[in-house]
């Protein structure tokens, strides 16, 4: 069983009828996202994201490897989406399913193929060593629109992540620990996000950020990957009901607006988190101008 259970006839009919009357089950507008909350873990690149009831964790990690032979100047970047049984009873551990392949494909194209992460900046020594950046996506709860949620979380993670500093000295690569040197932010060239619309009633209704019930009743999906500058880097309308070309143009504008909104949100939470982290690391801690902290052990002895 790798698919979500089908909706009952009554539910499907109701969702469609409600949309015909311009109503959604949770009272949202057609072009409205569910409440989005982004938080960070202790380490760099650990993002927890909640979009309505869809909830996931993304971990970005880096290691030094050998670049590919055909691309000696490029670092490696991989996005790993694995849907475990924790997210939905429909998913089985260790067995890939359609949803997983679909989400992985879309996110890969929106984030990786659009060169959101500048992989050339990951090169350390040409043809010998480079950084390999890996994004692991863990879905904790699934209530529709996984694609957008994963895209937002991965992009936030990439912007939040700091890789250890590495230098080449006498042909030797030295990697400094996070405490030893201020870690380096990744080079993000642009910030694309996917925006998913679901089509209903022969493409007459297009709604944003469908919940699971809406997704199950939907007749087709339109995914637009777009960045802040309005450059469309991914567009898919794989199967299902036809969507009017006019709608696609119109929804691209909606998508642009939404992406700007979400990117502004991401910038805000990133800024808040970085200022919270404040001065950390050995360099900062060992500065003379820092306040002197009295060791609690000595005070107890005195």
């Amino acid at each position: 069983m790798s698919r979500e259970a089908n909706l009952s006839v009554a539910e499907r009919e109701f969702v469609l009828e409600a949309l015909r009357q311009g109503q959604r089950l949770d009272g949202r507008q057609a072009d409205q996202y569910r409440p989005l909350s982004i938080s960070f873990g202790e380490e760099y690149g650990h993002v927890k994201l909640q979009l309505g009831k869809t909830s996931l964790v993304v971990r970005i990690s880096a290691e030094v490897t050998k670049p590919r032979d055909e691309r000696p100047f490029d670092g490696l970047f991989n996005i790993n989406v694995e849907l475990s049984a924790m997210g939905s009873p429909a998913w089985e551990n260790g067995r890939s399913n359609d949803a997983e392949a679909y989400v992985a494909n879309v996110v890969d194209r929106v984030v990786r193929h659009s060169n959101a992460l500048d992989t050339e900046s990951l090169c350390i020594v040409q043809g010998v060593s480079c950084w390999s950046i890996r994004a692991d996506v863990h879905v904790l709860d699934f209530d529709g629109n996984l694609t957008d949620a994963v895209c937002i979380a991965v992009m936030t993670g990439l912007q939040h992540f700091r890789r250890p500093d590495a230098v080449v000295r006498d042909g030797q690569v030295i990697v400094y620990g996070i405490d030893e040197r201020v870690p380096v932010a990744l080079n993000i060239t642009h910030k694309p996000l996917s925006v998913t619309f679901n089509a209903f009633n022969e493409g007459k209704n297009l709604i944003l950020d469908a919940s699971l019930k809406e997704e199950l009743a939907s007749e087709g999906e339109l995914v637009i990957g777009i960045n802040n500058g309005g450059e469309v880097c991914f567009l898919s309308k794989f199967a299902g009901a036809p969507v009017d070309a006019h709608d696609i143009v119109e929804k691209s504008n909606v998508a642009l607006e939404k992406v700007k909104e979400i990117n502004a949100r991401i910038d805000k939470v990133l800024l808040a988190d970085l200022s919270r982290r404040g001065k950390k690391g050995m360099m900062e801690e060992s500065r003379a101008e820092n306040d002197r902290e009295i060791d609690s052990r000595t005070t107890t002895v005195v």
Binding site: M1, E4, A5, N6, L7, S8, V9, A10, E11, R12, E13, F14, E17, A18, Q21, Q23, R24, L25, D26, G27, P89, A90
Partner: protein, 273 residues
């Protein structure tokens, strides 16, 4: 009402909390089990009533039942006599195979387990249709088949609105909320129940009466079926409003005052009251 008694899994139900003994057999609700205690062979075997889930003990002396009001769980474990909303998955010669919970083994519903059904006239349910049914048996051990029925086997009548559910909409709630809703509907409306404090339904009923009221069926498997087809043009709005009130009460665990506030807020949003 006295202070509620909270039981943890494995706790024994104190005998003074049970309804006074009479000739009728005591009915056990979900979360309770009768276990026999090991005793020396010479003595008579002793039975104890034990909780298998954490919850608040509730007894009903009139109906001679004792049950456990569990926490808002999401997982449903079928128990005999539970009312459930099941979805037909496919049909075979003798049975409809139904989904009580998605991705678990199908429950069986006899083709003739409907009011007035016989070999010649029986409901022809298709895939995806819904029935309101009662759990008849759950079998023993893991993988045992669950059988449900849309008719009271003793009387041959579909009491309590059992049978196919046509139209309307299903909303998912926690099983704990479903249990509370069922209890709230079975107790008298002026009974101020300290444990439940669930006024959302009676409040909705009062406010939606003017537009034609609504029909509701609560399944212990965490589903509520709502139908407002009497409401005419505002049927869809009223149904969505109902669903949002129920889910909001469930998710935020609202107290009676907040439930009333939520109801009037949602109804105002839809211009229904």
């Amino acid at each position: 009402m006295s202070t509620p008694l909270v039981l943890l899994p494995g706790d024994e139900v104190p005998s003074d909390h049970l309804p006074p003994a009479n000739n009728n057999p005591l009915k056990l609700g979900p979360g309770l089990k009768l276990l026999s205690e090991p005793t020396p062979a010479s003595e008579k075997p002793r039975h104890v009533l034990t909780a298998t889930q954490a919850g608040i003990l509730s007894t009903d002396a009139k109906r001679n039942t004792v049950s456990l009001l569990s926490f808002p769980n999401r997982r449903y474990i079928p128990t005999v006599n539970d009312l459930v909303i099941a979805q037909i998955h496919h049909s075979s010669a003798d049975y409809f195979h139904c989904m009580v919970t998605p991705h678990t083994a199908h429950a069986l519903l006899g083709q003739l387990s409907f009011e007035g059904a016989n070999k010649k006239t029986r409901p022809m349910l298709k895939q995806g249709e819904l029935v309101y049914a009662r759990v008849l048996s759950v079998g023993l051990g893991a993988g045992a088949e669950v059988e449900i029925t849309c008719v009271n086997p003793a009387t041959g009548k579909a009491d309590g609105g059992l049978g196919p559910l046509v139209g309307g909409m299903v909303f998912d709630i926690t099983t704990g909320m479903a249990a509370r809703l069922i209890r709230a509907s079975s107790s008298s409306p002026d009974d101020d129940d300290a444990v439940d404090g669930l006024v959302v339904l009676s409040e909705l009923g009062r406010k939606l009466e003017s537009i034609g009221g609504f029909e509701i069926a609560v399944g212990r498997n965490g589903k509520v079926w709502v139908d407002c087809s009497n409401a005419g043009d505002s049927a869809v709005k009223a149904t969505i409003a109902l669903g949002r009130c129920l889910q909001g009460t469930d998710e935020h665990n609202l107290n009676p005052a907040d439930q009333k506030k939520l109801v009037s807020k949602v109804l105002r949003e839809f211009k229904l009251a």
